[in-house]
């Protein structure tokens, strides 16, 4: 089993950190992982992206051509990467920041108003990613936050955890709505 994920957005939205956290948590659950950032001059304001692979086997190419999951936080990234998403792949996009959605019928589309729900939109999206793909246990993520955010940074654990929980809840509420229809 191999999952290839591309995450893209503006620099400063936490795109690289989100990918990093997914990769690290997948490794904690026993997967082989790679994480490749775009490393151009794009720290704040420009678009940036990262490529994450989680696999049961050793990973060949760390570069992704057609991802299984695409997570996007801005319009330019959606235009750039959506054509590359695999048939039957999953698109997670910030429906608060992205207004125009190009039509593709062959994929699963999940809109999450991540940056409306919380200033930590990337962590809301982490929650949505966990709920939609079910590849990583939320407990692993919370454990990781507790291990990595220590000392003066420990105060950031509750806000991150809260944002992740909101993302998970958004997806479960949404699927409840769909099943009621």
């Amino acid at each position: 089993m191999k999952t290839e994920i591309i995450i893209a957005g503006f620099g400063g939205q936490g795109v690289l950190f989100l990918g990093d956290l997914i990769a690290y948590c997948a490794m904690k659950e026993g997967k082989y992982v790679t994480w490749v950032p775009s490393y151009g001059p794009e720290s704040r304001g420009g678009t940036c992206n990262c490529q994450v692979i989680c696999s049961d086997q050793l990973i060949g190419s760390p570069a992704i051509v057609h991802p299984d999951v695409l997570i996007v936080f801005n319009q330019p990234s959606l235009y750039k990467f959506l054509p590359r998403l695999k048939t039957n792949g999953t698109l997670l996009y910030d429906s608060f920041l992205i207004k125009e959605l190009p039509a593709r019928e062959d994929i699963r589309v999940v809109g999450v108003p991540a940056f409306q729900i919380s200033k930590m939109g990337n962590m809301v999206m982490m929650g949505a990613f966990l709920a939609v793909t079910k590849g990583i246990k939320p407990e692993t993520v919370y454990q990781t936050l507790e291990e990595k955010l220590t000392g003066a940074k420990a105060k950031f654990i509750p806000v991150n955890k809260d944002a992740i929980e909101k993302g998970i809840k958004y997806i479960s509420d949404k699927s409840l709505e769909t099943s009621n229809e």
Partner: protein, 363 residues
């Protein structure tokens, strides 16, 4: 052993410190800057510990300098190596070009040191994306004169650490500079890995310029001869050393070659992509295997010669440059097999699908 998750450049930092790095001199450049950044962080955290009266974590690591240029850093490395310390510098393609004069002098003076090249696109300023265009520069010279560098080509984050540690041992053992030749992808990528256990080998350095001590004459480090005879003698010593390294230190990885009729060969990032393509071709019933040189100098010519003598008649070379590595493969094959090149340059990593297609064209 538990698995860790780390960036290629960070793995080099960790490997160098575990190998007993004593001095680092560098100048930052993308995509290798995390090396100088990481070492600065460790160095100054240790000074802070000392200020508080605590023990430093890396007691051997005594000198860290961000120099004013690449030229200054390689010459500072020469100074550090001259007094017998384990020293290192790190840069990326354009920066490595600037260091070439110093590298030639260091090789001439038989000084051990480790030079890291996280290759980016060239020629000139090129791009910051990964390429392998510094192959010739690394293995055929680079600077002026007859000399060789021991060149390692890692293809994973784990090997970034492992090969850095090996290079410190081998460069001390043979009194010669060595280079770690990786591409931007390997430097920037994070990956799950097990930290390699490479024992530190310590070598006496009676030649080091450490003052008179109990010596009868002082040690001097120089390589300038105004008459041919001593020059012939010194160069013969160099040549014999290079022959000894060629005889003892060739390293490569082979994969599924026992019954292979087609051979794929690559180093660095393309080699892991090629390995996955070999697996996919095997699923289609194609008898294909992989040779991945781990040392680019000394180059594993013999394995190519052996495999193409009776067994393999088609070879696919994959590299991220116009075709430099392919020339050494051809020297090994010596016309015994058809050698095809798949060159992907400009900063794009070849995909598994592309390599698989190239393999199928050879069937």
């Amino acid at each position: 052993m538990s698995r860790v998750y780390m960036k290629g450049n960070e793995a080099i930092v960790e490997g160098a410190l575990r190998a007993g790095l004593e001095g680092f001199f560098g100048y930052p450049i993308t995509p290798s800057s995390e090396i100088i950044e990481g070492l600065a962080e460790r160095f100054f955290a240790d000074r802070e510990r000392e200020r508080r009266g605590e023990k430093p974590m890396y007691p051997k690591f005594r000198v860290f300098l961000q120099m004013e240029s690449e030229l200054a850093s390689i010459n500072a490395v020469m100074g550090g190596a001259s007094v017998g310390c384990r020293v290192m510098t790190a840069s990326s393609s354009p920066g490595i070009s600037l260091k070439q004069e110093g590298i030639s002098y260091i090789a001439a003076c038989e000084l051990p040191c480790v030079i890291i090249n996280i290759m980016r696109g060239g020629p000139g300023l090129g791009s910051i994306q990964p390429e392998q265009g510094d192959y010739f520069q690394a293995v055929k010279g680079g600077g002026h004169g007859d000399y060789k560098l021991i060149v390692f080509a890692p293809n994973s984050v784990q090997e970034m650490a492992e090969h850095t540690m090996l290079l410190f041992n081998l460069t001390d053992k043979y009194r010669t500079p060595g280079m770690l030749l990786a591409d931007g992808y390997l430097g920037q990528m994070k990956e799950s890995m097990e930290f390699p256990d490479v024992p530190i080998e310590e070598y006496e350095k009676p030649w080091a310029a450490t003052g008179m001590g109990d010596r009868e004459t002082q040690n001097t480090i120089e390589f300038l001869f105004l008459t041919p005879e001593p020059m012939v003698e010194a160069k013969t010593r160099l040549l014999q050393k290079y022959k000894q390294i060629e005889a003892n230190e060739v390293r490569y990885e082979d994969y599924k070659i026992d019954d292979a009729k087609i051979l794929v060969t690559a180093f660095g990032t393309p080699s892991r992509v090629a390995k996955a393509a070999v697996d996919q071709a095997r699923e289609k019933g194609v008898k294909v295997g992989l040779i991945r040189p781990i040392t680019l100098w000394p180059f594993p010519y013999q394995v190519y010669a052996d495999l193409t003598t009776h067994q393999i008649d088609r070879v696919l070379v994959v590299e991220m440059s116009f075709g430099q590595f392919v020339e050494d493969v051809r020297l090994g094959v010596e016309g015994r097999a058809e050698v095809k090149l798949y060159a992907r340059y400009g900063g794009i990593v070849p995909t598994e699908k592309e390599i698989l297609e190239k393999i199928m064209e050879l069937v």
